[in-house]
Symmetry: C2
Subunit: 361 residues, 2 copies
């Protein structure tokens, strides 16, 4: 096989490209004029022009009529689509709009756009989306993991992201074995602890817990719930815990609570720690259907402090979700990763806060 050195214009392209990539020619710097290059390499000006045109198409240089040819500012590596993918599980009208709003505010300011995708909480879908995103040239990725507690077979896709130097930030959760990756999450265990502890401080001892089984948040809030019970010396009773999956979020907790409430004569709970505000509202509805009232008969707590919590029938005592702040923090972290700054803290945990309203007594 012969070397490529036989093509003069190709030679020049490689030489100049190397000089740019190695830093010998810096962004904005003027290249030698076409005639100078021609003379220096003992080739014709037309051949030099051909080489420069190739470099221009590749984005390494740009020419200005009458002034000269210059090295591009952005070292031509990738064109920078200025798109950043935001992958969430659901596009529900629950808390995500605000998270995305927070992300958007930060990104728009810096000239980036959001490419929105959602996985419907399916890992297969998530893998498909990341593959797709690797094709489009995105500058970064903010992702909420799907069904995060289950072991994830598609970790190699994240290795691909690393390889292509596409920075990513996890929000709301993170796969095991990736705990050191940049991420912003809430201390869900502490949140579960705080809200349970609050109920205990009001005198409740028979506290039902409702948790989502298919993500890390559910697991963590459950742990916090147990921790608070233990601290108060209350025995943990598995029969008082209801687990549900995302698909059944509208029916399962409702039916379970109704079933439990039916045994009124031996009502064995006086408080409910719900996984989130949506579930809390459905719990209250279930109680009312059995002629029980909240907070008079049963105290109920939510989680996330969504707009539902403030405006629903019984304003909910809940745990504050930072929403916009979570989004803007994630966007800022991603931007600093993209600029390859030395980022000190890449794992940020937001402390939960108790918001007291009317649903407990």
């Amino acid at each position: 096989m012969q070397t490529d050195k036989r093509l003069k214009y190709h030679d020049l392209v490689e030489e100049l490209r190397d000089k740019i990539l190695s830093g010998h020619i810096r962004p904005g710097e003027k290249l030698p004029s076409e005639n100078e290059l021609a003379a220096a390499h003992a080739i014709s000006r037309q051949t030099v022009r051909k080489a420069l045109q190739i470099l221009e198409n590749e984005g390494f240089v740009y020419a200005e009529h009458g002034r000269g040819t210059f090295c591009s500012d952005r070292t031509g590596v990738h064109k920078s689509s200025h798109n950043i993918a935001v992958v969430t599980t659901y596009l529900s009208d629950y808390i995500f709009p605000r998270v995305i709003q927070g992300i958007d505010q930060v990104l728009t300011e810096k000239g980036y756009s959001i490419l929105l995708k959602n996985t419907r909480n399916s890992r297969a879908m998530e893998a498909k989306i990341i593959e797709e995103l690797l094709q489009k040239d995105i500058d970064g990725l903010i992702i909420e993991p799907s069904k995060s507690q289950i072991y994830c077979k598609h970790l190699n896709l994240y290795a691909m992201l690393d390889k292509y130097q596409i920075p990513y930030v996890f929000i709301q959760g993170c796969y095991s074995h990736m705990e050191k990756k940049p991420q912003i999450l809430l201390d869900d265990r502490k949140g579960g602890f705080l809200i349970t502890e609050y109920l205990i401080s009001l005198g409740h001892r028979d506290i039902v817990g409702i948790f989502k089984a298919d993500d890390m948040q559910g697991q963590e809030r459950h742990k916090g719930y147990i921790q608070a019970l233990q601290q108060a010396g209350i025995a943990y009773d598995p029969d008082k815990v209801i687990w549900y999956h995302t698909e059944d979020r509208k029916s399962h907790p409702y039916e379970q609570i109704r079933r439990m409430a039916k045994k009124r004569e031996k009502l064995f709970f006086d408080a409910v720690v719900a996984y989130n505000d949506e579930v809390a509202i459905s719990v209250i509805q279930a109680l009312e259907a059995e002629n029980l009232s909240c907070p008079k008969d049963v105290s109920v707590t939510g989680y996330d402090n969504s707009y539902l919590a403030a405006s629903c029938k019984v304003p909910l005592t809940t745990i504050a979700h930072p929403q916009e702040k979570l989004g803007s923090m994630a966007a800022k972290l991603l931007l600093s990763l993209m600029e390859k700054e030395e980022v000190g803290q890449t794992k940020i945990i937001i402390e939960p806060e108790l918001v007291i309203r009317d649903s407990c007594q």
Copy 2:
């Protein structure tokens, strides 16, 4: 100003590009040889080569050594990023999440992604965003106009979209002079009429109307409100109408209603038609602050049938907003425009529906 026709290679580029775009040269078809083109246009072969190289860079043609130059399979137009921009006014957690969800469902199925942007209801921002989107190569655009009742100076940007053959669909509103463009909207006048007519049928005659001043929906709902009053022979009283701007949506309606409610001895209204559910809730809060109750003292109606309407303190009688359906219809319409199908109906108006709950009597 001189025409572009002076540059020979540029001429040839345009001629060939037009032939390809118009279908005179079909994908895979062989173009005339460089010498033939040179002879036919009485220009040199080198000039022909320059033109062909530009077309090759743009993806319209490809050359095969020794065989010829051929028209690209993918008609070269744009590389098809498979991104579709969705531009809304706000990313509120109000009704947009569901609209976007509807769009996303349809687009994901066809392998497209959403590029999300929001204008904060500013026309300047909208112009900036469209300019930016013209740079990125999007395949289509779904847009909710900003401050749509005000005359829009940036219509030329839509002409640019036409020129680049990027199809777009308006949702929720449309600029004047663009009534014939593809759009999906709600019959807001009829909605305003229906809800006002309903209040009249309950016996109300002193009905306050609250409308947003800075978009078409507000204007239309206001017209429907007047229409219903006229039909019932009730005189229109401008003092009973409150106009507000988006920026003041949280304070202005609330304060106005409180002010009106303060004159209790001569309470001159017994019903309120609110612009949307959010405002309706704030109206109810204002009434309660003055010790008036809804629906006992004053009937209040919402609009949009958001999740707020069902779960708030006093479940709202409101007008159904199709949400997901609006989104999916817009996405489907856009897709059919993109495939250049002959689309029969490009202006779709969705009929409003009354949803009766507890906030009126």
